[in-house]
Each structure stands twice: as C-alpha cells, then as structure tokens.
Symmetry: C2
Subunit: 114 residues, 2 copies
DNA sequence: TGACATACCTAGAACTCCGAGGTATATTAT
DNA sequence: ATAATATACCTCGGAGTTCTAGGTATGTCA
C-alpha cells in the first residue's frame, strides 16, 4: 500500500553503492545515514540491507572487514571495490534515464482534478 | 539482472493512470503507447498490464467497457474515474518527492571512477 | 541488574513483474 | 482456400525484492 516502498524497489542497491562511494561504512550506519539524508523517506530495514550487502559482496562490488569501534563494539565495515564503482556509474546512468522518461510521461498527462 | 526492470517496479500503476488521464484506452494500446513514448524503455508485458488493470478496476480507479472497433474487433476500453484521478495526483507527488531525494543522495556521492 | 541502544543475522510471507502458455478474430500472403 | 501474422484478451507459476518478525550478542545507563 505504501507507494514509497514500491518506488524504492530497484534503487536500493544504487543508494547503498552511492553511500559507500564516499567512504567505508557499516550496516547500521548506512541505515541511519540514508534515513537522515532522505528526510526519513528511505528507511531501510535491516532485513533488507544485510542480504543486499551480502549479495554485493558475493558479486565483488564490495568487500567487508571487521573493526573494533572506540566503544569496544565490533563492527563489519564495507568498502566499495573498483567493480562496485563501475556498477554504481552504470546504475546511476540508468536511473537518470529512467526518471527522465517517467517525467516525460507524467508531463503529458492531464492536470490536477478540480 | 536488468536494472530497468527493477526500477520500473512500483511506478507502473502511476504510468498507467497517467496514460488514462488523457483519454480512454484499451490494454494493447497502452502497451504500444508507453513503449513509443518512452523510447522502448517501458515495454510493459501483457502479463503485467492486464492484472494491473483488473486490480485498478477492483479498487474503483478505472472502469471498463467494451466497444467494437472499425475493424470489427472487440476491444475493452478503460476510463479513469475521479477516484483514479485522485490516486494519480497522489502518486505523482510521491514520485516527484522520491526522485528528488534519490538525486540528492546521488549528488552527494563520489564522481566517476578514473 | 534490568532496560535500552547498538550491531549483526536469517527464514518466511507478501508483493510485483515476467515468461510462457492459452483463446479468438482480422488481415495479409501464398 | 489456407497458412501465417498481427491484434486483443486472459491466467498461472516462477523469480526477484522487501518487510515482518524473530534471534543473538554486547555496551551503556539508570
């Protein structure tokens, strides 16, 4: 029912790669950052993000390593690889094309109802 | 694997309602029109469109009627209802918000790889 | 010591889309 | 005439994504 949920579909990987392109991050951090930077529009659930990260690692788009935080807590960081950067560029291009075409269709539709 | 396929997800209803806001259309026609107006980016399959139309009719967003074409062939036309127009406006707003936020995230990511 | 936040994970349900099939009629080519 | 193609509708089952709802473990704070 939530349209946002459906719209989100397909762009999550793009968003995750985009986040990682600015520096290594761990899962929990990505969720918080996406939520904050999107004004609570993209609130990924853990059950969504972790499988995605595992998938990205399996295809070699990211690599993980564990690191101890100042707090003593162990975190699993992800770093984007060259392959991941290339995938990011491709998906970015696809997104731009896609959104422009949706906007073109919408532009041709009738104005708001009375 | 096709990213376009995933991106399409969630916006199909929006696109269909948008098409119908410019006039009554039948299924086959919508597929052709979407394909043409998007430069073959949105090539809806029949197995996708027909269930969507049936769903929209069940929620009262569209109404169908059959009409004989000049060719003698019977077609099933769909007309958008007031409820459908309202849904269109809402989904349009959601789409604009969503795409702006994706662009904002992308704008904050690293530039293209060397 | 108990509650909460952090931090990771998975299995199963729900939803969307497509592939692949089916039916039927009109047009076009042979 | 008849075979092939295009039009036009439909449905079922599989594949892919995301969420729900759980689980585990540790650090912090009251």
């Amino acid at each position: 029912m939530k349209a946002d949920k459906n719209l989100l579909s397909g762009s999550t990987t793009l968003l995750v790669l985009s986040l990682l392109s600015t520096g290594d991050k761990y899962g929990y951090e990505m969720i918080a950052e996406l939520d904050a930077r999107s004004d609570h529009t993209f609130t990924l659930k853990e059950g969504t993000l972790y499988p995605i990260l595992h998938g990205l690692e399996k295809e070699g788009a990211v690599k993980s390593y564990t690191k101890e935080a100042d707090t003593g807590r162990t975190r699993k960081y992800y770093r984007i690889t060259r392959k991941g950067l290339k995938a990011l560029e491709e998906q970015k291009k696809e997104w731009v094309e896609f959104s422009e075409k949706v906007n073109a269709i919408l532009a041709g539709c009738a104005p708001a109802l009375a």
